[in-house]
Symmetry: C2
Subunit: 605 residues, 2 copies
């Protein structure tokens, strides 16, 4: 029960026009058959190796066994097959050892693996992210040393940001990196919440670590990025980042025991406690946060897709349950001698399934759109074009991370409800998906942090250029959708919502510029929520326009495809009737500049 291939194809090719992207020079050595083959392989691997042990990886969570992290054998087998399939380097250019696929295709595969077994797949997606940083910002020598080993699965990656005293507040990290004089740095400090921080799945682990070089500026401007392998890399020229040399002084302090996402080990690590720990600087001193944000921004789209994958898996399985479980009758039928009906026939079960469908398919549309923007950016040849795309991508990234984290979690909550008491047991996957999805609100920046990022930074950058770009794209979609009379109500509603968003943004930005920063940002989380719902409404309109257009096509279409397209229209309509009005309500709250959170004193709680 993964993301249906039909929907992935619809979103990638029909809505996002992947064929057009594949026609650009950047993707000259990649074509549709190649993409199809990779998607086929991803579905096959996810079904064969990832999904079957998702419940086991949850139940048999990582533990220490003789000082080593124990994990199920199935996890290792799944990841080995994944690396062998070339998925880790799927989106890296071929000259660097990758498959040269568009990022959006690699992310689509990621959504499929997340639906199958999100925790185990996360070892791989972290490694992808770390490899991308080294590929982009590392020296040639660093690429030689680490990249091939990471792409073939001999070395897995991590990102080490948080510290016990500095979770969301990176300005306060204390880990130190002292120059040794030979170009390297001695790392010392503790890192918290490190996913994949220690295990025996790969020969080596390549930690990307944020640390301060003594004498640098305080705060976020004095943070540098280092490559810190678990084991020293013995033979540098041979690209032996995947070997097991001497220990590099990275030690495990302990494991974190989580509510969900248990298939992936989460650790606290100490650097330099048990021996000298050496790191290599990535890029320039004190510029580390920028490089790490490159990794984090892609990771944030990935988090959004993980939330979507979990929500989608729950939706599909709840739908299957509702089609087969017999229970009760329509409220208009009083005769208990009539047979019980599939619960899919009950209005409230339909409500729960339609809401799930609208949220997960809308979330998929938004996250894939953002992934596609990454490709557009890579393929864009003009500097102005790149700047515009980069701004838009930065604007949408906190939304693509946060909106699915909220609404696809709600989808999992409803999937439990569809199955009732059975949904609350561990015999069915719903409760695991729900527990897993609860993390997405937290990691890679909490919902609240992203609200501040969106309202306090992204919409004010360059005098609001990113928001203007967003609105321009929304208007283009509306213009196109106006060609479908059946969508006029949705076009009007979206146009009004975007006008409201623009007005509220102007007001809040003016309040902030007037020195009332606290008041302007007090309800930033509501702003993020409303913006996200409007962005997803936009992607729903785009899907509906394509679906409506295809349904008018005189060529015969098979019944399943027609039903699929009709389903898109129903879900779009539901989203506009039930979700978009909530965004408008939040905008009106924001418009009032509600100061309730500032007026209440600490002792009033």
């Amino acid at each position: 029960m993964l993301i249906p291939r039909r929907d992935l194809d619809f979103q990638l090719f029909d809505v996002l026009g992947l064929d057009e992207l594949l026609g650009r020079p950047r993707f000259a050595d990649c074509d549709r058959p190649a993409v199809d083959a990779v998607l086929d392989a991803a579905y096959a691997l996810a079904a064969a190796r990832f999904a079957p042990h998702a419940a086991l990886a949850d139940a048999a969570e990582p533990r220490l066994d003789g000082g080593r992290v124990w994990l199920p054998d199935e996890t290792q087998a799944a990841l080995a097959a994944y690396a062998a399939g070339g998925f880790i380097g799927a989106a890296l250019p071929r000259p660097l050892g990758g498959l040269g696929l568009p990022f959006v295709v690699s992310q689509a595969c990621g959504g499929v693996f997340a639906a199958a077994n999100v925790a185990v797949h996360s070892y791989a997606s972290l490694t992808q992210g770390a490899a991308n940083v080294i590929a982009r910002f590392g020296t040639d020598a660093q690429r030689v040393r680490y990249l091939a080993a990471m792409l073939d699965g001999r070395a897995f990656g991590t990102m080490c940001l948080s510290e016990p005293q500095a979770g969301s507040s990176l300005a306060d990290i204390r880990t130190r990196a002292t120059p040794t004089g030979d170009g390297r740095y001695r790392i010392s400090g503790q890192k918290m919440w490190i996913s994949g921080g220690e295990h025996e799945l790969s020969h080596n682990i390549i930690h990307l670590v944020l640390a301060r070089i003594p004498g640098g500026p305080p705060g976020t401007k004095g943070i540098s990025l280092f490559i810190v392998p678990r084991y020293r890399v013995a033979d540098e020229s041979a690209g032996d980042g995947g070997g097991r040399g001497a220990s590099n002084g990275v030690s495990l302090i302990g494991l974190n025991h989580k509510m969900g996402w248990r298939g992936q080990v989460n650790t606290a690590l100490a650097f330099g406690d048990t021996g000298e720990c050496l790191g290599e600087l990535v890029g320039r001193e004190h510029h580390g946060l920028g490089y790490m944000f490159h990794m984090m921004n892609e990771a944030r789209v990935t988090v959004g897709l993980c939330a979507v994958g979990l929500g989608y898996a729950g939706y599909r399985q709840a739908l299957d349950y509702a089609r087969t479980r017999l229970q009760g009758r329509s409220p208009s039928i009083k005769d208990p001698a009539t047979p019980q009906v599939p619960i899919l026939q009950h209005a409230d079960v339909r409500r729960m399934l339609l809401a799930q469908k609208a949220w997960v398919e809308g979330g998929l549309a938004l996250t894939l759109y953002c992934a596609r923007l990454v490709d557009d950016l890579a393929a864009e040849e003009s500097e102005t074009g790149r700047q515009g795309l980069a701004l838009l991508l930065e604007l949408l990234t906190p939304i693509a991370k946060s909106w699915p984290s909220e609404y696809c979690l709600e989808a999992n909550k409803l999937a439990i409800q569809v199955a009732g008491g059975a949904g609350y047991t561990r015999d069915l996957p719903f409760e695991r998906l729900y527990r897993d999805n609860r993390l997405n609100h937290i990691h890679e920046g909490t919902f609240g942090i992203h609200g501040l990022d969106l309202l306090g930074r992204k919409v004010v950058q360059q005098d609001g250029a990113a928001l203007r770009s967003f609105i321009g794209r929304v208007q283009a979609t509306i213009t196109q959708a106006l060609g479908e009379p059946a969508l006029h109500a949705e076009c009007r509603a979206l146009a009004a919502a975007v006008r409201g968003l623009a007005a509220v943004t102007r007001k809040l930005v003016a309040v902030g510029a007037d020195g009332q920063t606290e008041l302007a940002l007090a309800n930033a989380t509501l702003y993020l929520d409303a913006f996200g719902t409007i962005a997803v409404a936009w992607r729903w309109l785009a899907q509906a326009q394509v679906a409506q257009h295809a349904l008018r096509d005189p060529r015969p279409t098979d019944d399943a495809q027609r039903a699929f397209l009709e389903g898109k229209l129903h879900a779009c309509r539901w989203f506009y009737r039930h979700a978009l009005p909530e965004a408008n309500l939040r905008l009106s709250t924001l418009e009032r500049l509600d100061d309730a959170l500032l007026c209440i004193c600490d002792e009033h709680f």
Copy 2:
């Protein structure tokens, strides 16, 4: 970190006027010192015996050990102390062996125990419910046989309704009860989701079982209620329902492994598979559902209070975390050399805490109000008065069960978020409270079922008499609150919301009466949600009126009490600005008679 005593006293005495109730003849042998003493004892016992092993009871869930259900020793010790304290019979009249306390006081204690350890307390609350049924509908002989043993903890109770093929649809239960000719019945069938269905915590277990007597009417009109002890009761005259006689043929099919609420064993049971299983009829043949609904209706208020207790525990602990955890700075402070601040100072953390406060204190106010109605009903001397109170209680019961199940779960979700990554680990209680609370949406009737009950049955009974009664009480509160100028905006908002609710109800009832049952009920869940929010807004206004009045009181009040009262006003304001508008939005959706759920075909999902 239980429900603060200050809030419980405020709600019981200042808002609900418990002193007035204690002055009535029904409670002649109970006074305020007695209530205070019971509350003192409940807090002490909850803190000493229940809270300390809540995490253990979750981690070391029930398992089979040599054919018996293993539970932690601490669970047995806690329940023994609970029974010894007289809490099981707290609300039963003294002549029956109870403490003769008002139901509202017993439920307030229940909320405290739920906050401490909801799963373990549930053994006791189920026993309370079963004892109440026997006390009310049983014969004198049945009372003699079972009641004393249940009140002193030698026998625990269960309620056996669901069957594998009939979860929410009680019309379809198949368990049979065949007369033996000596006044007893031979029970055969299977029951599912039986909480406390097998354990060694008590000598005996008294199952209250719904079953069909052959030849009775089909559907819900042919269901009878039986007392079915785990062990036969040997010496009937001696009230030995708590003894261990011969096995009564009730066998354990298996344990259900749940996401949360793990401290309470949940079972599938077979009756009559392993030997003759004998039951005693309660009341009249074929009238069992009515008796069971008596238990279930009280159990539903209890479920609401459990949701509140879990939400409240999370809120208080999140507040404590936010006061002590240092992280980041105000968005207007850019200097990283300034010290980090308690996260309570961040607007978004305040938002999450204020929302939790408004939901859990509002939920507490609503559930205690309903519990107080149970007492009013018991104390009422006129038949007309009783009928009116019974109607109102029936109207509010699905709301008291469902609204806290939704919004106090949301509170637990936000409590996790306040603590960030730490909140997602099992080192802190938040994730357990969240897992526990997810059940409340499901057991004792799902949210969807209660929506149908409210809109399809409760508001149409006696030509809408219950709704009129509700509206009359809301208007009385508004009239009183209009004496406080600071509350005029809330008064207007509530009056408008209630007008909207009445109008939408009229419209939906007319649509249903017009034969369009499916359309009228299609969005019944939204109706329940909106009605619930309006009902809680009403209870918030009542609290705010009392708080505002007390703050104007010229007598000196200590600072903590003033801060507490100010906090009530802030939470009320938040509720009116953020929660009530959502109810109005749902009403406008209902007003449109949205048929989205009826138009979508099965194959469109």
